[in-house]
Subunit: 250 residues, 2 copies
Amino acid sequence: MHARAGVALNWKHHFRRLTADCEMLALALPDERDLLAEIARVAPEEATVKIIVTRGAGGRGYTPLRQPPTRVVAAFAPPNYPDSLRREGVRIRRCALVLSEQARVAGAKTLNRLENVLARGEWTDTDVREGLLGDAAGRLIEGTMSNVFLVKGGKAATPALKRCGVVGAQRERVRELLAGERIECTERDIAFEELVAADEVFLTGSLIGAWPVSEFGERRWIPGPVTRRVQALIDRQDAQTLEERDAQAR
Amino acid sequence: MHARAGVALNWKHHFRRLTADCEMLALALPDERDLLAEIARVAPEEATVKIIVTRGAGGRGYTPLRQPPTRVVAAFAPPNYPDSLRREGVRIRRCALVLSEQARVAGAKTLNRLENVLARGEWTDTDVREGLLGDAAGRLIEGTMSNVFLVKGGKAATPALKRCGVVGAQRERVRELLAGERIECTERDIAFEELVAADEVFLTGSLIGAWPVSEFGERRWIPGPVTRRVQALIDRQDAQTLEERDAQAR
């Protein structure tokens, strides 16, 4: 998560993600007030914050024991991506790795991220900011660290994530923000081929906000109006969150 | 691994597994002599030993950095399964969880074992000693902590593990031992339905050796001759390993 002044931005969707994932994995959900207090403590200024919930300390073996989970709330250096990325857009590629399908945990942000590590290891060119991943049927699913949105004819779409992929907190916020603007955004199966036909493509992530995609293979884009609108809406909501926090602090 | 008197039993196949997996994951392979010395140190008597190789300590993010890997060699309490399990056999069940397919890491023993934890969490009846897992096409793949062998008409078979599953060190030893006895053992796709039609079914694992399956659903078996032969061959090889070690120590 991106935290500023002791507050996790987009907290509502982060906590929803955590709630859903704890239920999916049969882990006791940490108390929300505890988490908020801990975030304020570890990230008094700007930071990247990570919440990890594990099944707790146990012995060897796969049997999931009923014991108190371990909760980690950790702060790292804040993201410092150059502003040009959100302004001008990013170059992306397609990864060779094909995501496996596991409906049982699809959408969840578990700690089993080997596929992401292997996919991210496919390129070293620092100008390429993200790699897109697909499933065995050739559907576009997500980036290694982001979700993907396409815009065509003023309508947005983002891949359905019922079989694989992570339902990112920023993705969920963007869907909500688009709905609030009456910009249609459907969740559906998207073939990789649709990508180059799109008018706009953008990536979402908690640390990146919304990055326009400017280059994929031979295709070039300039950041479009829906992408710009999404960026502005995210910024406005984050500013409101910080204002509310200031008002409470006074 | 099962270690006795400072020696890891079936070391050849364990080190092959580690070698293959390090290459698959682009991790530097630890020096074999270092590992053998560390096993002797952590497990001077009987123990369960675990070797873990990680990509090393790094920052956040999925980018696999080129840094020295971290090597963990840890000893745990030795397995203490009742002898009746290998003598009389075990009751097993089928798990509802369907294994995902990821050819990129199929066969490897990575630390991404969420599926095994979820599958093992499907039952609490302590009389059920193992759960079998299949893939989306209904093929039998493996147990949550073991590999599976079927025997029919004197010929053995074990599931091909090109799409998912762990190629266990004990599985590989058993295949080698069977070949040495001129007992045919094929690696192939096996439908779940073949299980009940088998004359013998047994499970292999480093800590369990070879367990005959005595009960699966309505089907009952008494331990058969191939299973008994495999158990005897494992025992003989382990005894030889310990004799050689004693000879060297003198």
